[in-house]
């Protein structure tokens, strides 16, 4: 009978150790790496939120502007003899452009998704989807320039007004958010529980009846998630909108008159103001409003996803 020598471990233990060592190493490296990544991420997010909040709040704490004055004031004149910080025109502009853009892009995106998943999956998913996703890769300055050269003159010759304004901004944005909405809608429709459609067909429903009675209602929360994400992208977009919207700090009388958004107010003013001045702080407050709005959008998406799971 084999007896292990003094100090030598039994065979199975030796084998186990040999196998276990790299395994533990792997586990450890993986843990450390992911933890590090998460730490960097958390620190970054906290730092950004803290920075924007501390700057944005100093408008109220240091410069003595009232919150209600900022949110409901109609006149924006931070460089005036009596500085006025009314951001309502910007808030109005941001909401109206992104809502309008979502209104244009949502039906387009959802219908494209239905086409790609239900009607012509082969051609749609192989050709159409990459083409639509290509739209996401175009730089926003290009969208702005195309809007300025094509959409603005078109609107100007068709409607009364200067052509620039909320309508032009919304049209440019609707193309920009189309990939977001389409991609999310396509994923939602493609992951429809197997059997739902077959059941509907088995009952004798036509394809169209199946789509609008079964497919759309079942995936509606996910479709809405896509629309909300698209809207939040539209809300944060700066450059393209800034080029076509006109940027007058007033609530416009028509869709074709110069208006302004939160982002365009920030991009126009930030480089020309001195850090720490009242004007600069007010711009950070606008950024804070944008940040809070993004939180709201994220919460809405979460809420929709929760409803989707139930």
């Amino acid at each position: 009978m084999y007896r292990p020598a003094e100090g030598e471990q039994p065979l199975h233990q030796r084998l186990q150790k040999k196998h276990a060592k790299p395994h533990i190493m792997e586990e450890w490296v993986g843990k450390v790496y992911t933890t590090l990544c998460i730490l960097v991420l958390v620190v970054t997010i906290v730092a950004i939120v803290y920075f924007v909040a501390s700057r944005g709040l100093s408008t109220f704490l240091v410069n003595g502007v009232s919150l209600s004055g900022l949110l409901t004031g109609l006149k924006w004149d931070p460089e005036g003899d009596i500085p006025l910080f009314g951001a309502l025109p910007f808030i109005f502009g941001s909401f109206s452009t992104s809502l309008l853009a979502a209104l244009i892009a949502a039906p387009l995106g959802c219908c494209a998704a239905i086409f790609m998943t239900q009607i012509m999956p082969g051609f749609g998913r192989r050709v159409l989807q990459p083409v639509i996703e290509l739209l996401a890769g175009i730089p926003s300055v290009v969208y702005g320039f195309v809007g300025l050269t094509v959409i603005v003159p078109l609107l100007r010759s068709t409607f009364p007004g200067q052509g620039i304004g909320i309508a032009a901004g919304a049209l440019v944005l609707s193309v920009m958010i189309l990939p977001t909405i389409t991609t999310i809608a396509t994923d939602a429709l493609a992951s429809l529980p197997f059997g739902l459609k077959e059941g509907s067909y088995a009952l004798g429903a036509t394809r169209w009846q199946t789509i609008y009675r079964i497919v759309i209602p079942t995936t509606l929360p996910s479709l809405l998630t896509g629309v909300v994400l698209g809207m939040s992208r539209a809300f944060g977009e700066a450059l393209a909108v800034q080029m076509v919207i006109g940027n007058a700090p007033h609530i416009p009388h028509s869709l074709f008159e110069s208006a302004s958004t939160l982002t365009s107010a920030i991009t126009l003013g930030m480089g020309n103001t001195v850090m720490g001045s009242a004007h600069n702080n007010a711009l950070w407050s606008l950024a804070l409003i944008l940040l809070l709005m993004t939180f709201v959008f994220v919460f809405v998406v979460r809420f929709l996803e929760r409803r989707n799971k139930r």
Partner: protein, 313 residues
Amino acid sequence: MKKILFLAVAVMLTVSLAACGTKGETGSGNTQNNGKTDTQAGGSAALSGSLLAAGSTALQPLVDQVSKKFMADPKYSGITVQVQGGGSGTGLTQVSGGQADIGNSDIYAEEKFKDADADKAKELVDHQVAVVAMATVVNKDITVDNLTKQQLVDIFTGKVTNWKDVGGQDEKITIVNRPSSSGTRKTFEKYALGTKSEDLQGSIQEDSSGTVKKLVAETPGAIGYLAFSYIDDSVKTLKYDGVEPKEENVVTGDYPVWAYEHMYTKGEPNEIAKAFLDYMVSVEVQNTDVVELGYIPVGKMQVKRDAAGTITK
């Protein structure tokens, strides 16, 4: 084993990336003191180090072009010059805070740093490297050729809203303005209008001169203002109080809508910054690059103007 290697590399990359991030934030502040003097074989002292010039987008094309020539010059091969835009406010903030060695600005620092910040302007040393002049431009269809100062003020404050009131056709005036904090707009307000213009309902504000030009060229009844370097056939320039917006009239002081392009340093410039600033105002650069890019050489000016706007011959 491969996986471990991969993970290890990934960890290293992340750590080094994170390190880069922090270095980028703090490191840019340290450029000021690294002006070393090396003795080269020739016996002459050659400078080496790096320089960051940030600020005014109106001045950026010039600084960009000159910095490339400067670095290509064998005399200054040891110096790296970085040029960043960001606007006059950014330039002044960064040079005052020590993040940049040179702050480019379209306007005097005294005009930007006011009230509580007034002390910051005193620390900065002004180096005027070029002059930029601006002209009132209108859509080509406008029949008006000349606007008086009062007419311009009336237009930009919203008292006059139709071209027929200033001697043109019956056409609504659309103002294409720069943002209220822009250095170009401040110059235009100060020297052409003598008063503040307003962000009127329906007016357009654009931050880039290219967009301003495009909108003025395409929008019927549009009026705006552009630096000479941006003006071409697509828009029509107007006389100001009967004076043609031309370089000849700017240098004699007859045409008042112009401003210096400033490059500020915090305190007296160090050796590197001084070498670059001297290069900027050298005869060679002033007569080639400055003119080429549509600015007016500082030396050509027969009048001088201080921060308060007082003109001396």
